[in-house]
Symmetry: C2
């Protein structure tokens, strides 16, 4: 039994080339006393991965060249060597990396109940992306009933949850996404009030039409032109949540929001967030979101691909727009 | 007796040309029943004036072409026609515009006591710039003892007060200004801990040296490269007060802060402010700042020029760096 891994071979400049990772086959490391061996089932693909590959100062250590690529995972304990907390058969979520087997002391792993939701959901709507959405829109965006909320990357793992939570909280919700299919999904499946296909090229006009009363809260996953256009439509005391900037992650010269002085004119706030700060409250959020899911008020969609060999192509889908919902890769050997 | 006025002739593109205003001589308008005639002594020159000349949506109505240029003023009531509040001899501050005489119902004018401070101080440290500094650094910047505070445009009317208040509140204060003379003034006269001459061209290095522990609060008057460089040095939960962007006001294509994702990494906040929101609390601030001035803890410097004919050249000093402290123009006929 071998362990296939995707290892970082170099620091990319711009969009990563195929040889930025290399598929390596290693012997499985037997768990020492107090350790676990986890067979990973799914890995989570997140835009943030691109940032982790840069050497620059950030909210988390960069992945080192030569190391297994960092990724959130969900998998099953197949060997527990006198582990104090977990036993064989437990399904654990954690930072297992892009590999099929992880040998670990189990620190920072937590068990999930797959009777309540499927495994991919636990690295999506009930995992980091869901937590990001929950705390970002409630704590940083400070939404209240009646707010006009706009979210970009709206059909993605974070954006789709942001919009649904805002709807549950009584806001008017407009999603921005790339393509008519995604917009249709947002309105018809997720109940957004409106959706704008930014690829149609009329963002400014479409935004004005969708938000005639202006924008109270903007949850930004993309940066670039979309952020800049939204800034022209914000209301007094608007809150802008900076969660990500997928349009800029592969740019060698990132673009700042030229219209940022709209913050001054409107006494508005632009605030950055990192989900890890809310770690102590994940349980509370998962409970609430699980309840909404059971009630059918919060929907989750996963885009599942297969084969650790296909990591690069799957990763690329994060940036080329070819996915709806949470992107995951089933890394089990078939 | 004639009233000389500076009238807006056109909307400037980029830095205003000399013929953007025209000196007009009008008959003085006699005050009607319940009105006042004010002989203006000083007008306030503020970078914000540049924004008021644009037609675009902002925090205040644009000055219309053909109208007297908007300006804060201080002057003396020389005729009161049964005015309910003010009498001849009162010294009033208000929005009298760039002219020698203003006929008004007195709404939004307030009386000042020139025994306590000189007239120019009432349109400087005890006027709008001082109020901006006070509420900006305390309410938006939320400074607390021990914070590292950086302020740009530090030798200006707002910046110099921001830095002094932060010192009074127990912060380490670093000013950014253009030129060695200004830096010397900040350290030797105003008691800043350090000052950086950005024109020396080593801002990044100098900032690192001046703030080895990073930056907790940045009060921005300038935007552009300076804002972008500061963003690379902010601490976790830093607050950035967007008060102005003098480097951008005359740009036809304003530049956004390319490093704004530092807000995300550091869970930092960038918030815009407009002083008018604190109008109800001006009295409280003036009282506090007046006390500090009497105690010698808050110093004020005015750069006084003469002659309404020289409005254009004086206005230009706001942008060419040729002034320290509050720029005012004595518009009385000599």
């Amino acid at each position: 039994m071998k362990n296939k891994q995707q290892v970082l071979t170099k620091r990319p400049i711009g969009f990563p080339e195929r040889d930025t990772w290399e598929l390596r086959e290693e012997e499985i490391v037997e768990p020492a006393e107090g350790e676990l061996l986890i067979e990973q089932h799914y890995i989570s693909l997140d835009p943030a991965m691109r940032g982790w590959m840069n050497s620059s100062r950030s909210y988390i250590e960069p992945v080192q060249v030569g190391d297994v690529m960092r990724a959130g995972t969900i998998g099953e304990v197949i060997k527990a060597n006198n582990h104090p907390k977990f036993k064989e058969g437990d399904i654990l979520s954690g930072w297992g990396g892009v590999q099929q087997y992880t040998t670990t002391d189990g620190k920072d792993y937590y068990p999930v109940d797959t009777n309540l939701a499927s495994e991919p959901v636990y690295i999506g709507t009930l995992g980091m992306p869901g937590m990001t959405a929950y705390f970002g829109i409630t704590e940083v965006g400070k939404i209240k009933e009646g707010d006009v909320v706009v979210v970009s990357g709206a059909a993605g793992a974070v954006g789709s949850v942001v919009g649904q939570i805002a709807k549950i909280k009584g806001c008017r919700v407009v999603g921005i996404a790339g393509g008519d299919e995604k917009c249709k999904y947002l309105i018809e499946e997720l109940g957004f009030d409106d959706a704008i296909n930014y690829k149609a090229g009329n963002l400014r006009k479409d935004l004005k039409k969708a938000c005639p009363q202006g924008i109270d809260v903007y949850f930004d996953n993309v940066g670039g032109e979309i952020l800049d256009t939204v800034l022209t439509r914000i209301n007094m005391h608007a809150r802008i949540v900076i969660c990500g900037a997928i349009s800029q992650y592969n740019e060698t010269a990132p673009k700042g929001p030229a219209n940022y002085l709209s913050l001054l004119v409107n006494r508005a706030t632009m605030q950055g967030m990192v989900v890890f700060d809310y770690a102590k409250r994940y349980g509370e959020a998962a409970l609430q979101m699980g309840k909404w899911m059971q009630e059918g008020r919060l929907k989750s969609r996963e885009d599942v691909h297969e084969g650790i060999e296909n990591f690069y192509d799957t990763f690329s889908r994060l940036f080329n727009g070819e996915k709806i919902g949470k992107l995951v890769l089933d890394v089990r050997e078939k």
